[in-house]
Symmetry: C2
């Protein structure tokens, strides 16, 4: 089924545009993918692509992908620009179902990243992408972290949402779940008892928490962690960008990366 | 000397505003610092602060700093907003001399980061900040890299420009200078001969090159490197953000960080 749309006032177009708001994403449990790379990754990884939206040229050139989506909309370049807010969009978008849930897997295994009130969407997306590259099993974010499916986070994740598990949740409950099964939870707040991240030997299952850019981790959550880690620094910078810190820690800690390379 | 300014049409204000452009920064060899933290860091590290610009309230509350700058301008909050383009500025700015040069130190020692056409100002600033934290001696950028003293780069550097050496230059000449003294230059392009960064033992003096976000390193420059490094990945992300990669590599390679912690 292919429908042609030419006006930005069409109800479909209005709904796509509204996917830029957290409220509408939550209501609809859908979000927008921008560009062929993400659409192809979604389909390849079995994600549910609900609608495909493209200019006539783009749709004609990718019939293999078009044939895999039931609802296809042929639109003007202006409509694509209107819904993506991108300066020079590729001319293709898709509406996909949000894969993140509010539950918790019945069994927790592997390395997990938890984000406690990380505000910048670029940082959040970059950390999900890095967690994917570091072989982490999943990422859990609390309510005060930038929404995982906002356009900016989606741009920075570069498709990693299709490779690992994403959850929204109460980090204290997650922390308790790890600890109940004997898996350590590492905080990242400098304090006198903090441990050098290079000296820590992690088991295969553990969690690492990164805090807010300016204020660090929540005090109550910090008090519940098993250890706090620091990255030894020689320079005079007072701190690192949170996404850079997370990258160094995730690649340092994930045992599976260290053992057989 | 304290002068009061109330109009955004004043010539001083126009010049401060123009510091947002690369052309005027190059002409004047000056750039803008926004906020007390950066102004204090500049003075503390012996940087040349040419002019201090603040609202009456802010200047009154920091007389210790005010007394250390010769030219002080008392301005309206509107003028500060106009020149900083910040939504909620602190009410204090300063004009400082650009510390980066086009030369080369007579002796190259320590770890150096080279940026080959890195486009995003946030990535460039974050890498300078990370190089500082990793104890690197300096950063060299080529002409196609985002200007080191643009407002966005300055915001991301968070004062690290006062802690290490910054140079603009022809990376091929720098690479040759390292190699003449027997110091290795590491590229970061995946190719069949690339080496696992965890297995590399660097001498105290070396250089690491990071390339463009989309296109990687320049082919000619790449051909001249001694080794290319890769970060072993377990996940399915195809790549890492360039600032995250640089962070992992810099903390991995800088020997001084590894030996005595």
């Amino acid at each position: 089924m292919k429908e042609q749309l030419k006006s930005v006032h069409n109800q479909h177009v209005k709904n796509w545009k509204k996917l830029a708001t957290k409220k509408f994403r939550r209501q609809s449990q859908r979000y927008l993918l921008d560009g062929w790379h993400l659409v192809a990754e979604a389909l390849q990884n079995g994600a549910k692509v609900v609608q495909l939206i493209g200019t006539p040229d783009e749709l004609a050139q990718h019939s293999d992908i078009v044939s895999r989506v039931e609802e296809v909309y042929e639109v003007t370049p202006e409509i694509i620009k209107h819904i993506t807010e991108t300066v020079s969009p590729q001319g293709i978008c898709a509406v996909a179902e949000i894969p993140a849930t509010y539950g918790m897997p019945s069994q927790l295994t592997g390395a997990w990243l938890m984000l406690d009130s990380v505000q910048d969407p670029g940082n959040v997306g970059t950390m999900v992408r890095t967690a994917d590259a570091a072989g982490f099993a999943g990422v859990v974010v609390n309510e005060k972290t930038a929404d995982l499916f906002s356009p900016k986070v989606v741009r920075s994740m570069q498709g990693s949402q299709f490779h690992l598990h994403l959850y929204n949740g109460d980090l204290k409950k997650w922390l308790a779940a790890f600890q109940r099964m004997g898996a350590p939870v590492y905080g990242t707040e400098l304090n006198p008892a903090a441990q050098n991240c290079r000296k820590v030997k992690t088991p295969a299952t553990f969690a690492l928490i990164m805090g807010n850019e300016g204020n660090g981790m929540d005090r109550d959550l910090l008090a519940l962690t098993d250890h706090n880690l620091y990255i030894p620094m020689r320079g005079r910078a007072e701190s690192l960008n949170v996404a850079v810190s997370a990258g160094i820690l995730m690649f340092q800690l994930n045992q599976s990366l260290q053992q057989d390379d």
